[in-house]
């Protein structure tokens, strides 16, 4: 920034020089413009969510001191469109959450994802060029599936993401809110990078892709992996809204509740609902609570790399919500039994693919290679 300022000031200043300097002036101006376009252009001169230097331009992207239209001095009256102004179309950020694509015309650097790659969280409108078949529905009052209270939430981007990191958790994954849905205790979510140090100056080496699915190929289990991105806390974070989804066993008769399906009034469901475990390893050591079965599975779905080893270890890496689900939206298609609720009732459009990462129930066989 200082270089830019000095260059531009030199240009201003040199605008007063005498005729023989005109050639140098022209050269200086051209260089200045080139440097400006290369370093700034339409992209950020500084990361807008943190790491501000002494003279940040990024504050002005979201805030107005005297004409803000919403609280916290936000410029835009609609929180989501404020975020979209950068995060759709690649005009200000590499993470285009509308198309679910990592683009390289938004920010300088572009080291955290493959150009054109699919975002790990998918997109709200399209994913891989196909229309999203389900997504976290925004700006509409809904009761989250698995809610204990049944309370509705009108989701906006900032319900899940904080624009600025909490001071006590500077490395919170994806700037996820520490107290989503106003939970009392903080829900930290740790990840492996892209930094290797607390000061965020040294980066993970060799192709670390914090945002995109670099090598993922549907259905080729065991050969290709996601970047070892998550470490801990994802599932605990998600249940801030989907509060029942870490309660595994209805066998204990403690989780009798209506989900909106036809079993709500079925006397056979007195034991309540059963759920797949999350926060569990895929290999040994964590037998299924109901059947006492020890599993020895592998997957190429994203797992939590709890020990930060950056290598797959199925005894320590844990299955989490985002192993199976995208956070924003998915283009996975459901057919056959995958769209039929118990043979007969077709699920309503938009809620059938359930943000699942892969078509039908490919995630199931990705681990359970039966």
């Amino acid at each position: 920034m200082n270089v830019l300022r000095r260059l531009s000031r030199f240009t201003h200043f040199s605008g007063k020089v005498v005729k023989p300097m005109k050639t140098k002036l022209l050269g200086t101006t051209v260089i200045t413009l080139v440097v400006f376009l290369c370093l700034s252009g339409s992209a950020w001169a500084a990361y807008p969510h943190g790491l501000f230097g002494a003279t940040p331009d990024a504050c002005a992207a979201c805030h107005r001191m005297h004409t803000a239209t919403s609280n916290n001095l936000i410029a835009d009256p609609n929180g989501s469109s404020m975020c979209d102004s950068c995060h759709r179309g690649g005009t200000g950020a590499d993470t285009d959450v509308g198309t679910g694509t990592y683009v390289t015309n938004g920010e300088p650097g572009h080291a955290w994802g493959a150009n054109g790659g699919t975002l790990l969280g998918g997109g709200f409108v399209t994913v891989n060029g196909a229309t999203a078949t389900s997504m976290h529905v925004m700006n509409t009052a809904l009761t989250p599936p698995g809610s204990t209270t049944g309370a509705t939430i009108k989701l906006r981007c900032i319900d899940c993401h904080s624009p600025h990191p909490d001071k006590s958790y500077p490395n919170q994954y994806r700037l996820l809110r520490l107290n989503p849905n106003n939970v009392a205790a903080a829900r930290p979510v740790a990840w492996n990078g892209p930094w290797t140090d607390a000061t965020q100056t040294a980066y993970q080496s060799d192709g670390y892709r914090g945002y995109t699915e670099t090598d993922f190929v549907s259905g080729t289990a065991g050969t290709q992996y996601y970047t070892h991105n998550y470490k801990t806390g994802i599932e605990n974070w998600c249940i801030a809204c989907h509060s029942k989804y870490m309660t595994r066993g209805g066998q204990f008769g403690t989780d009798v509740y209506n989900t909106g399906d036809k079993y709500d009034s079925d006397p056979a469901a007195v034991n309540g609902r059963f759920r797949h475990g999350v926060g569990v390893p895929l290999k040994s050591g964590n037998p299924d609570q109901a059947n006492q079965i020890t599993y020895d599975l592998t997957t190429d779905l994203p797992l939590e790399d709890v020990n930060g080893s950056m290598t797959r270890d199925y005894t320590t890496d844990l299955l989490t919500c985002t192993s199976c689900h995208r956070s924003h939206g998915t283009n996975a298609t459901m057919s056959g039994e995958a769209v039929l609720e118990n043979r007969g009732t077709v699920l309503p459009a938009g809620v059938d693919s359930m943000l699942l990462r892969q078509n039908d129930r490919v995630m199931c066989v990705n681990c359970h290679n039966m």
Partner: protein, 364 residues
Amino acid sequence: MTDSLEIQEQSERIMKNRVWVSGMILIAMYLALGGNALAGYPHASFSGHPDACASCHRVHTATAGNLIKDPAGTSLCYSCHWGGLGADTDVKNGQYVSTGETDHSWGDPNMPLLGGGFAQVKSTSTTTSHHIMDTAITPPGVNDYQDPGAVITLKCMSCHSAHPDKGYPNQYRLLRVWPNGVAKNDPREVKWNGPWDDATQTTKNNPAREYRAYSDKDWNPDLPGTQIYTMNYGEGMSQWCVSCHTKYLTPKDSSPYDAGDAYGALVRYRHHADTKITNLTDTNSGLAYNLHTDLPLAHVDDPGIPAADRSKMNCVTCHRSHGTDAVMVGEAILSPTTRVSLPTDSTLLRRDNRGVCGNCHTNI
């Protein structure tokens, strides 16, 4: 006789030389001590035989009201406040100089004026924004629902009074006590901490404090956090500014307001002014702030007020009053909606981009 004539001629030559030398000495002393500067302070404190009246007034040939000799008010002010010809405060070049007045102890020579300049800052950088003079414009923040279409043609005299208003002899910077026609029962007094220690303006502020009323004391935007401004302002600055920018002390509008951006008429929210920055809890968000800054704060020198509450940010904490050379790039010149460049960019901000934000909110 001849000897007598020679002696007389020699005596006359000596006298002529003495007169010549004396004249030269007097001219030299005049240039050294006064030069073309004013022999008396032109705005007040006139002695029995003031010369300063003639700086601005002609009793029989004035070209403007109040017997002002110059038909254009701004150029009359510039006749002293530009180039160090009659005042140390060169407001056009935005620099404190040491050639205008006899006492140069209220600022650091060649440092930027606290308020910046209308054409340059520190006589080097061209301004990127300034209070626009002699042009009818609507001030930002005018409550256009209460005062639709209000325009102001700014002159120096719109903000400054040539002579102190009676009852307010220590008004900061001779700011008008009733700017923009505010009601007589609503005076906009702006207190400051000097440069006097007494009401009669004879005792100067303690030199040990290096009181610098006019210049950016040691201010260096490339070394944030290491140097501070003199504690200059007292209370009242923000209240004074909102005489024109009427809405800017309202944290949240009670009715919609079209700010001229793409969002139309909506209730608008604003950064607080006249607020302390330490030991502060935002009543709206519940967030606790304990900030520090090297930007100029208003300092209320009142031992009866807790120390943490004595320093407050106000309008001129972030903005220069006259003009700035701050440079805006990237998002700082883009509309958040259309992402195209805005026509007005630096908005008299003290520092490049949003350096004024980062100077307090360092932990974001």
